[in-house]
Symmetry: C3
Subunit: 350 residues, 3 copies
């Protein structure tokens, strides 16, 4: 791509793009600012990297519009934008080699059930199995050995990697990405205790609903509802090995890091961020934009938007950090206590 | 189904069922008491829902035998039972749409090894692979793309969902359910350290034995024993993403919630309940009916049946709650200490 | 095998092997010292088992070279070695029944992409799918229903169990073992936040590199790097359900127990041992030979080799145990504080 083509491409995503330098130099690919070579594009989003401006070999650098680059423009070209990091991410997308998850079209070995609707341009890989009455949107890609039960809806441009399993009735939006090994719609963990100590299974009759633009990592599990739906809101991002139990509702654009576990009937607000290995007790609610620290244990609802939670049982960050500081100070408390004891003894004896 | 048919069906599972109302009204399906419509069946198992008796649209409500319903029986029919919740669960099972995990019979694409015994009515899905000398019970269902190594026994009426993997020699009981992505019988994590810091693999020569009526969630892992067996007792229920290491023995009717991890050679008693993300050190034992709180870390054996454990390292609930209360009170302790210090100083100066 | 054959076999792995007893007795298999029968071989690696010398039914016992066994040699034969435990492990490997993961050769149903190089003696199971331009080493075994994307290199004698997924570009060494359900090379969890609260995906353009002699358990996840490589060093052992995020570097011979989670860009040294369910914040570093306790939360770098870490946030073992002892002693501190308060009051009043 020429610098001009990069400029035009970025302008579609990040608005105004000012070019300082050569229009038609060819750019072969992206690189980090400290290791970029001639012909490559890099970026500076953070002042501490500005020192590389004078020395980088990159032919093109994406920088913030406020950065003064004129003294370097004789050797390097620049694209000035409002958010250089995001601009570079879009550029990475442009340079990324497209991955072949499944060859174009429907593999001869793919098993397509009765009454399945296949959208235009859909690709279904070898040995994939699609249950009866599924609706597959246009340009969907389904990897090899992935299994869909019946009555599943999969929106346009969604991608299921290989070895994914989707249980019956799941409703999945557009541009959803599900990585390998993930299981969507398995039965929620519901059993009614009997007087003899055994259990009777509670049929899990609900479904899973996943909004548009959701991405789910590898080997995650999202259980179907007992009745009604487990809901993953539009734009949510769920990392590897995350567990989402029956009847949860995950808000739009909420992000959940690896190995976190959300118990049954939990509601998370929009734009929350949940750290890795965090755990939630059942039937509680978090407001919008709440941040949960890694390994935290959330044992009750928090309804104030935008707060941060930490610890076990989790409490708002400020109290928890105060608490942790007090714990670290416990030795000094003990020493002071022993000193007072000695002084008091002395005072009594005198 | 008519109300009479529901009554007859329930009587097989929950004993005496008294009908107050119409025998032959048709019931189309189940619903929650607050949203049920005419023609639907619901239940009240908890006094706080009794207020809905006067207003529900449900045509049939399952209630406790002690509940007085005569004043509502002109508009609603009732089935009076000893345990309305369990009765409703059995009714849900009746109304649940049967899921097609694999079409009846053996898919042509299924690979069946040499010397495999197939029970009557077994269904094996597309691209499933069954190793040599496996014994598959009657009415077993094996989902597409599930793989069984050799010498596996699978009892009558068991169900393996798609994309399950069972390693060689596993012995699996009757009516066992294994959800997608779960791996049973992989090698235990055993390596002998060498003087140069590297490891030699300890062959894992044992197997996994799973009792009748066990249900295992999605993406769980149950490792084979080094020698002998890893044992999952009859009726145990194991949730998604649970890890059970080599040589564990899980008691009958014990329930283990999502993402819990049981280290090697742990023995859990019968009817224990283990919370989500709880972890166990190796080679320890819990007595029967012990409850382990979510995220707890069990570092030693507890041999008193029926106790509850919590915290890290876990201790009996009462001590742990006392400990947590003391921790919450740490600020008051510090304040009192500072006050005493000031008073003592004053006293010395006077 | 005769005892002489066992001696010759072990001499290849553990050096000097002294035989006390009969050369040509036949040994049928291994057993624990307390339950061994005539014709079986066992071992004693620990003094507390030496009491079994007089009573064991085993025909052959592997012992430390310093152990005096002459008084028992009329009824039992002995092989004396420097490390009886390791010698027995090698013997277990000899007696282990070979598992058939895939039949010899390439299954007719396996899909082999264009430009794939297949080494001599490679076995590829039913319904496995191998992407274009993969290089498969000699004697590699790939289980049924395992999927490899394109441009993957898999070294000689490596074994992929069934239902594994390897993403494009992964470079995997020799003698690597990957158990079922594991996903290698899925996209790292990288999304650039936008001003409206939504996210733009950061393309994950790097790869995963796995050294020789690595073993990875079931249902683990190892993400590809954003740029460059996620690296698993030679000889590392990774247990079930472990998460290793993008751009991590795991040192040689490092061992990571089940359900541990390593956040992005973490570097672990050589010969570290990470306990189950331990978690790491991103972008930190551990020196060589560091031990991390189960469930610990590592929130910063530790650069002193050989230390042990424990707790949340984790600190060196000695401090952490001191801290935990102080916490257990909190009740005594509170009592002493109350006593001092009373004494001081009394003193003031007098």
């Amino acid at each position: 791509m020429t610098i001009q083509e990069i400029r035009d491409y970025l302008a579609r995503f990040v608005g105004a793009v000012e070019l300082v330098g050569k229009v038609d130099e060819l750019i072969s690919g992206p690189a980090k600012i400290e290791s970029a070579q001639i012909g490559q594009v890099s970026f500076i989003a953070n002042d501490k990297y500005a020192r590389y401006l004078a020395t980088t070999e990159a032919s093109l650098v994406i920088v913030h519009k406020s950065l003064s680059v004129d003294e370097f423009s004789h050797r390097t070209s620049f694209l000035k934008v409002g958010d250089p990091y995001t601009a570079f991410v879009f550029l990475l997308q442009k340079f990324a080699t497209p991955r072949t998850i499944a060859h174009k079209g429907i593999a001869i070995s793919a098993v397509i059930g009765e009454g399945v609707t296949l959208g235009e341009g859909a690709s279904i890989g070898e040995y994939a199995v699609i249950g009866d009455r599924c609706t597959i949107g246009s340009n969907v890609v389904i990897g090899p050995n992935t299994v869909l039960f019946q009555d599943i809806s999969l929106g346009d441009n969604s991608v299921l990697f290989p070895n994914v399993t989707i249980y019956d009735g799941s409703l999945i939006g557009k541009r959803v990405v599900v990585h390998s090994g993930t299981v969507i719609g398995a039965d929620g963990f519901g059993f009614a205790p009997q007087s003899d100590g055994s259990y009777v299974k509670i049929p899990q009759m609900g479904i899973v609903e996943i909004g548009d633009d959701v991405e789910i990592g590898a080997n995650a599990t999202i259980d179907r509802a007992t009745m009604g739906s487990t809901v993953i809101g539009r734009g949510a991002k769920i990392d590897n090995l995350v567990q989402i139990a029956h009847n949860c509702r995950i808000g739009e654009d909420t992000v959940i890091a690896a190995q976190a576990g959300i118990s049954g009937s939990v509601t998370l607000g929009r734009q929350c961020m949940v750290g890795g290995q965090a755990g939630f007790a059942g039937h509680l609610e978090l407001a919008d934009r709440i941040h949960v620290a890694a390994q935290a244990g959330i044992s009750k609802s928090f309804l104030e938007p935008g707060i941060a939670l930490r610890g076990y049982p989790a409490q708002p960050m400020r109290e928890q950090l105060k608490h942790e500081a007090m714990l670290r100070n416990l030795g000094a408390m003990r020493d002071k206590l022993n000193l007072l004891e000695a002084e008091l003894k002395e005072l009594k004896n005198s």
